[in-house]
Subunit: 345 residues, 4 copies
Amino acid sequence: MIIVMEHNATIDQLNRVIKYIEDRGLKTQVNNGELLNVVAVIGDKSILNDESIAALDGVREVKKIQEPYKLVSRVAHPEDTIIKFPNGVKLGGLERPVLMVGPCSVEKDFEGLLKVAQAAKDMGCQFLRGGAFKPRTSPYDFQGLEEKGLQYLARAREKTGLLVVTEVMDTMDISLLCKYADVLQVGARNMQNFKLLKALGRIKKPVMIKRGPAATIKEFLLAAEYVVANGNPNVIFCERGVKGFDTHFTRNVLDIAAVPIIRKFSHLPIIVDPSHGTGKRYLIEPMGKAALVAGSHGLMFEVHHDPDNAMCDGAQSLNIEQFKEIAKSFNKLIGRIDYDNKNNK
Amino acid sequence: MIIVMEHNATIDQLNRVIKYIEDRGLKTQVNNGELLNVVAVIGDKSILNDESIAALDGVREVKKIQEPYKLVSRVAHPEDTIIKFPNGVKLGGLERPVLMVGPCSVEKDFEGLLKVAQAAKDMGCQFLRGGAFKPRTSPYDFQGLEEKGLQYLARAREKTGLLVVTEVMDTMDISLLCKYADVLQVGARNMQNFKLLKALGRIKKPVMIKRGPAATIKEFLLAAEYVVANGNPNVIFCERGVKGFDTHFTRNVLDIAAVPIIRKFSHLPIIVDPSHGTGKRYLIEPMGKAALVAGSHGLMFEVHHDPDNAMCDGAQSLNIEQFKEIAKSFNKLIGRIDYDNKNNK
Amino acid sequence: MIIVMEHNATIDQLNRVIKYIEDRGLKTQVNNGELLNVVAVIGDKSILNDESIAALDGVREVKKIQEPYKLVSRVAHPEDTIIKFPNGVKLGGLERPVLMVGPCSVEKDFEGLLKVAQAAKDMGCQFLRGGAFKPRTSPYDFQGLEEKGLQYLARAREKTGLLVVTEVMDTMDISLLCKYADVLQVGARNMQNFKLLKALGRIKKPVMIKRGPAATIKEFLLAAEYVVANGNPNVIFCERGVKGFDTHFTRNVLDIAAVPIIRKFSHLPIIVDPSHGTGKRYLIEPMGKAALVAGSHGLMFEVHHDPDNAMCDGAQSLNIEQFKEIAKSFNKLIGRIDYDNKNNK
Amino acid sequence: MIIVMEHNATIDQLNRVIKYIEDRGLKTQVNNGELLNVVAVIGDKSILNDESIAALDGVREVKKIQEPYKLVSRVAHPEDTIIKFPNGVKLGGLERPVLMVGPCSVEKDFEGLLKVAQAAKDMGCQFLRGGAFKPRTSPYDFQGLEEKGLQYLARAREKTGLLVVTEVMDTMDISLLCKYADVLQVGARNMQNFKLLKALGRIKKPVMIKRGPAATIKEFLLAAEYVVANGNPNVIFCERGVKGFDTHFTRNVLDIAAVPIIRKFSHLPIIVDPSHGTGKRYLIEPMGKAALVAGSHGLMFEVHHDPDNAMCDGAQSLNIEQFKEIAKSFNKLIGRIDYDNKNNK
């Protein structure tokens, strides 16, 4: 930790900073700059509160050297985490990238869901996604089928063998969701719902965290740190776009660079959602492919048996025919990536 | 609702759009532009799902004319909502702007909290704020005293007569918080925790919603709509800064314009938090004053009896002496604004 | 054009809007909504000033149906523009994606530049880039070799056959640059230097416009419209990242989605710069590949013979060895894309 | 300067960094952290290129302690710069805040301009603003009257005694503008047109720099540094809003906090433009007042004798009657601020 003093800080203020640190059993080293004095702190800085130091008189800025995330960091855990599912599917590291598809929300028409699941199975996808509890910006929009939706997903899993990914919105629903889902997804708007993250640290099922629309990558990593620090090591990141200043052509800016960054600084897997990331059907294919070549461990996107009559996100959903076309293109690229990965192992 | 067709849309696609709308009992009017055709929809558009229309082939864009928020809008409710508290304090409209002060989090030292509360009372503040349940970005930071913190706040209220504002983080804690608090605050990171918003619609205590760091004003209004639509008309907005591209000097960009905008489009009160909005102690006074002259119904900011040793947000907290100085400056301005408001009533 | 009236607009105000439009020879159609009235304008809207209409009393909002860019739009010009260079290189459409490489700025050491150019030639690149006039955020940074730098670039072209891309910063330098360069580049900070754009419309050399760090895609398209409307049809877009709220890991957010969006809405070519887009050497390869599979017509990135001693942008430059490694990887992907494009022609 | 090494950097890499610095005549001090090693640099860091250091192998991050702006900083120049105009008007420090008003662009109707100027004079304003050269996003919009517009402004100055502020767009126009204008304004889109900034450093007239829509405060300060470092000490900052993610209600986010920040870190004056900052007429008054109480040295806003027929920015311009109403409100507040400032001098 580096403490930069104001150019007009008094000697008294400097001494008070030094005393504050040494009182806590750490050592200091003062570098006298041309204009500014700097105090370097030596020892275990985790016992210091940097906000308190920043609040001392005469302090201009506190610069932290170490990152605040520990368990999710590659520094402490250099090997890739690979999540293994009961049916043999693996996610992360140099494993074959996966596809997660399904409707935005599970709707009353079970046969429709089954059609999507069957097509997903046919195209080699590994996961069926679908919301039973839906977070909607407007209270007047469809809010989800709740438990009935979960039952539908479980029935579709029985028939196809696909793994089920679905969103958890509240700590009260966790045990219910664990009965039905293979992966519990934390929605973007809940990325910093810390009560929820802590509770998810106490379960055994893998947790997928979607990036908040204004979350920095550091905040994204710290959200995962909450889950891991509470006991659950199986966390998947999901990049789904961040708020930008241009909303004319896309809903969000899909931050593809998050993929190689997260892979460099963390050992946990990351997938990308090009449906929510862009909000446009015509962008799913180019952006999905871009994510894959940038190193994404998988893609999640929306498929609906009848998008014109979908209860949500119709404009960004694919119908089954469009899905098959795009899945073919993704599978071709996934095959090449998998081949290259295997030969580099 | 206006539906813009692609320049190369076919007549068949146009007719399908018209049929979709007319099947739902609404009328259409087609305007043939030089390059693009436009379909205007006439009738009660609330039964239409604009995402489904956007998903129809040949549709370029759907433009909505009406805003999706209804109950919080001035269109439906032209008079200001004024929230009245049991002790006679009023918040909103042309009432005297209020001050809400206190530590970021309630800590073990009850005497310290009491010193802050007493100073707040002395300076004419109306509300004591303090977190018992703390949302923290890092799992390694202090997480709050929980119920004990609430008890401390209630005891400070008994001794000073101040109203208590504190944060609710989970639906499971609502009934506990209602026992102790006068206003339940929804934190910025929970602004779109819809389960929480719905549950807060079913209580009687006023709810204060902090703006999410990436929330548009429309999303902010819709968050309040969730609470009001579920039965609780007493909602207070709190602007606290949004994410910007420059984090060198401030943590967030305090969007003062949100104050006159919300006051124009909604009847609900809005206050401003210049502590979180900027993250810097030296900005609390100028930004607090700016918010007040722009029409804010009050200010919320952090005061701690010993900021150097605060468990959180030390760098942006005032100590009691600094607080008194700033409160004097705010009170002078509030007095002028109140005088002007009374003479314009 | 659609004009939405305020909910409390008077009949008089509505009639004044109608008169304003009809006075200018256009027709109107009024749709009476439940809460808001809407005036649709029929006829050639290009003679209307939408800001003036927005300023009329009682007007809530003016919604434009048509895009303001015309010549660069696919609506008016459906076929891809392919730019052909004297040496046979083609850029755009389904042509083989190109590579543009070289140092951030041309420096005194000509032999160093030549090493880079030779390596570029060896690896099959088509363009040598390098700045002779440098825009620098700080006045204390290196400002470029000016004409001498241009001469160095021209000499490197003679020896290698590579085409030269270099930046123009001022209208006064255009004729000088035309003597030496094959493509004149407009820097991101000058994207809306309209005097410069107009002057570049009057030359014959192709112009490459870098996206401004806060430019929307619409503003980007309109910058190209300036050049084309003034007579020069050969414009290349260059996506290089936009300002985001997270600058910890990357300088900018590289907006890969701009590639398929620009290709859908415009006929002009677009390339991507993953060096400036991220500011990090380790991100050039994954992000460059992502851009290519998303449809980029080429990549531009920085190579320096001795990055440790580069005058600018050392941290994001590759040395020659690293360059060769990455170029190999790009060439493999470009070969596949080119093969697929040829088979789809 | 602090150099943070990667956790897996080798001793060799560390020694290479130390050698690099010591070769340049500076001293180093290595702090061995628990996980990361840090090299502190001691001596005159201005001769080091931090990008080159960042490019050395094994370096994770370079943290600069000193700010890159020098001449505009309060560190080197603690007293406020007060700009004095020939007619006695003063701008900056604790002088009475000024008002700059006028149309977005000077138009053919000279009598209209004169009406505005006369009203401005009557209301105690000090400056007449108006564009003769107009930067327009679309090439199809009105581009300004050029020299004729300047002549109109000069004639209006003769008749009213107001000072003239007008925009310079190109180095070629500077000498022409110096003949007519009292302040040369650099538009937001040209804030980093470094050729222009340098050329403006060589004139004697004060220069007002508008903040670029994506410019950080540091970049804003460095733009002024360009002018001052080239010889012209009279620079005025103008905050006019930055790009945000919500463009539904306002064009930009007016960053009022820039005012107290710039005043803390620089000695130069800063004014605020609430017209462009918001793009809405109803926000000029509340945001202008907010800027003034936050410490702005003045306001600039748009007034047009006939906004319904203005060639640009009609929606955010005031007509003369509205202007008088708002000027009255601003003058009341300016009077109070001036009184308080005088008593604190």
